[in-house]
């Protein structure tokens, strides 16, 4: 039985179709991240689950029961908003307990639930304060507390960390993961941050133009991207995408003398003479010398940037550019020729027209 099932959801605003058929089924306790750039429809989908927007077609089920047409309060969901959306005139305790208050939960029971939630989130000492007296991170905790206290079937998070600074965002990310591991509730989480998606999700739905580009575990999304879009969206710096042509058992890079081996996985789909896009992650490249076994390419280093944990190197491969993330202690200068090696298993091949992966299913 699915905890949450989304069936062929469409949403149309006049001429514009923001969702074009979304299908997802979640088991209880799953953490689904809807990942995509702004305008891809991920927040609209979340609002449809919450009942803040109605779909033009399709159905949403929670625990086998259709919730379309139900008032948000009757859907057994709780939502955390990007802006926290705390009631400014109420204390932290009342903010957290407001949902219970509106559901006419007796005061004593309510107070106990608020206190338990506050303890869980380590904000017991803030219960009497007003939201204006809290820091961003504390407000976020209160907003999460307001969702937790109701113990709903499904939690909805709408970019909850994007208003926090980088350090706090990381802390809250870990905190959310800890909470999810402890409470094992079903979560739908919207973000445009691929690190949040990779770290939090049990499954990621990468969305683009109102469709799901790929739905899979973080490992699948990272290791076997289904399309060029997913390949470019997940990973930082993004995957190198090179134009190449299949020549025999090799891939000749366009505008360069260099060739890459054709991985065994793709021999059935990449016929000779075919144009392809080759993807290789910057972190899959290593600096090599001529004795290093395995595949390698020679490129001319253009820019070297030390970020601290790694050395981000941009190099020219003929007319094309390639980025490599190397260990920080590597020492070489811009302008030098370097040999970059990799395993042929890390190569991804895509169809240049459709953008779809050429990996056989």
């Amino acid at each position: 039985m699915s905890a949450l099932e989304i069936r062929d959801i469409h949403k149309r605003y006049g001429e514009v179709e923001t969702l074009r058929g979304i299908d997802i089924a979640l088991e209880g306790g799953e953490f689904l991240v809807l990942l995509g750039s702004s305008g891809c429809g991920k927040s609209t989908l979340l609002n449809i689950i919450a009942g803040l927007a109605e779909p033009s077609g399709g159905d949403v089920l929670i625990g086998e029961r259709s919730i379309l047409g139900l008032h948000p309060k009757d859907r057994d969901i709780a939502m955390v908003f990007q802006s926290y959306a705390l009631y400014p005139n109420m204390s932290v305790a009342r903010n957290i307990g407001f949902g219970l208050e509106m559901r006419k939960v007796p005061a004593a029971e309510r107070e106990r639930a608020v206190r338990d939630t506050a303890r869980l989130l380590q904000i017991e000492n803030l219960l009497d304060r007003k939201p204006s007296q809290l820091s961003g991170g504390q407000r976020q905790r209160v907003a999460i507390g307001r969702a937790l206290v109701r113990d709903p079937q499904v939690f909805l998070f709408d970019e909850p960390l994007s208003n926090l600074d980088a350090k706090l965002r990381m802390e809250m990310r870990t905190e959310l993961k800890r909470l999810h591991q402890m409470l094992k509730t079903t979560v739908v989480y919207v973000t445009h941050d691929q690190i949040e998606a990779m770290t939090l999700a049990t499954r990621i739905a990468v969305m683009r133009d109102g469709r799901i580009e790929q739905l899979g575990t973080p490992e699948e999304i990272y290791d076997r991207p289904a399309t060029l879009y997913v390949a470019g969206f997940v990973g930082s710096p993004p995957m190198n995408i090179l134009d190449a042509e299949v020549v025999g058992n090799a891939l000749r890079l366009v505008g360069s003398e260099e060739t890459l081996p054709l991985p065994a996985d793709f021999t059935s789909t990449a016929a000779a003479g075919r144009r392809v896009k080759v993807g290789i992650r910057p972190e899959a490249l290593r600096l090599a010398n001529t004795d290093t076994p395995g595949a390698s390419v020679r490129a001319q280093v253009e820019v070297v940037e030390l970020t601290g944990p790694e050395l981000v190197t941009t190099a020219k491969l003929g007319e094309q550019t390639i980025t490599a993330c190397l260990p920080p202690r590597t020492r070489f200068g811009a302008g030098s020729q370097q040999l970059f090696s990799f395993d042929e298993a890390v190569l991804h091949l895509f169809d240049p027209e459709s953008g779809r992966s050429l990996r056989p299913v």
């Binding site: 908003f81 802006s83 926290y84 959306a85 705390l86 009631y87």
Partner: protein, 308 residues
């Protein structure tokens, strides 16, 4: 090195410029001060002087009568009745304007076709000059061909035409209705601006939290409305307390003095009966009452600002 420290590094007050800055400030304010003393200060002082005399508007300068004017006025029936009429007018019309204004704002904050046009139309009554509005309503209330009589008889609510402004029992209510019609758009505009400042996420959160329409208004929207509405309340109460023009055009304080507010009484005392002395003392009493109102509201506003 102290120069490098910036403003915080300064030790003690600067030695000289203080006095010069003060002098320059006074010099800059001087023209305005002269004007204000000429048009406000001196007339006020002269009004206070007049209020202690039995001066007529023309002719005699009058003699000093100490507090006689005040004693007669405060003990007299016409002042007391005018005070009650004014208070009733102010309380009822302002309360009705607030309720109507907020309701109209809630309606105009919804999404519907023609909303922009309706928003623009709503401002019309408020944009009309009071005299035009008053004349309009005098026509509506006209005992022989007024629209109100026609509407009510055709609906079968009254048997025969009535003189709404000519009967002491209905004149003040008729005035209050006219005043509300003119002034509720101001409240509605202020409330609408406040409603648009309520974050969408907050109302969405209240929906998810299960708050019904009334609870959403009471707990979530009202806190955003309270401050701006208080300002509207202050402005409208003070204005309603000073009301003159709409009444002067529609009833001149009649019938049987049933719509005679304090400002009308001041006018009659000073100009109709030409008693400059007691007119001045009455005007000062009204000024004092309005000032008290303003001070009370200022305190309220400060309290409200401190609370939020």
């Amino acid at each position: 090195m102290n120069r490098m420290n910036g403003p915080d590094g300064r030790k003690g007050p600067h030695p000289m410029p203080g006095t010069w800055i003060t002098t320059r400030a006074w010099l800059l304010m001087l023209p305005l001060l002269v004007v204000m003393i000429a048009v406000i200060g001196w007339p006020l002082v002269d009004t206070v002087r007049l209020s202690f005399t039995d001066a007529k508007l023309v002719g005699t300068a009058g003699g000093f009568v100490a507090l006689d004017n005040y004693a007669k006025l405060l003990g007299g029936a016409s002042f007391q009745r005018a005070l009650i009429t004014t208070t009733w007018f102010a309380v009822v019309s302002v309360a009705a304007e607030m309720v109507l204004g907020v309701l109209a704002a809630l309606l105009l904050n919804q999404q519907f076709r023609g909303r922009t046009a309706l928003r623009a139309l709503m401002i019309l009554p408020w944009a009309l000059p009071t005299v035009v509005n008053a004349t309009l309503w005098r026509l509506i209330y006209n005992p022989e061909y007024g629209a109100l009589n026609a509407a009510l008889t055709q609906l079968g609510l009254i048997d025969s035409y009535r003189s709404w402004l000519g009967e002491p029992g209905s004149a003040l209510t008729a005035l209050i209705v006219a005043d509300c019609w003119k002034n509720f758009p101001l409240v509605a505009l202020i409330a609408l601006a406040a409603l648009q400042a309520v974050p969408r996420d907050i109302t969405a959160a209240a929906l998810v939290d299960g708050a019904g329409p009334f609870n959403r208004f009471r707990y979530v929207i009202m806190p955003y409305l309270a401050g701006p509405l208080l300002v509207a309340l202050v402005l409208r109460t003070i204005e309603a307390f000073k009301v003159f023009d709409i009444i002067w055009v529609m009833t001149r304080g009649g019938p049987a003095n049933s719509t005679r507010t304090l400002s009308i009484l001041v006018y009659q005392e000073a100009f109709s009966f030409q008693r400059a002395g007691s007119g001045a003392s009455l005007a000062l009493i009204v000024t004092l009452l309005v000032t008290l109102l303003a001070v009370a509201y200022a305190a309220l506003l400060r309290k409200a600002a401190g609370a939020s």
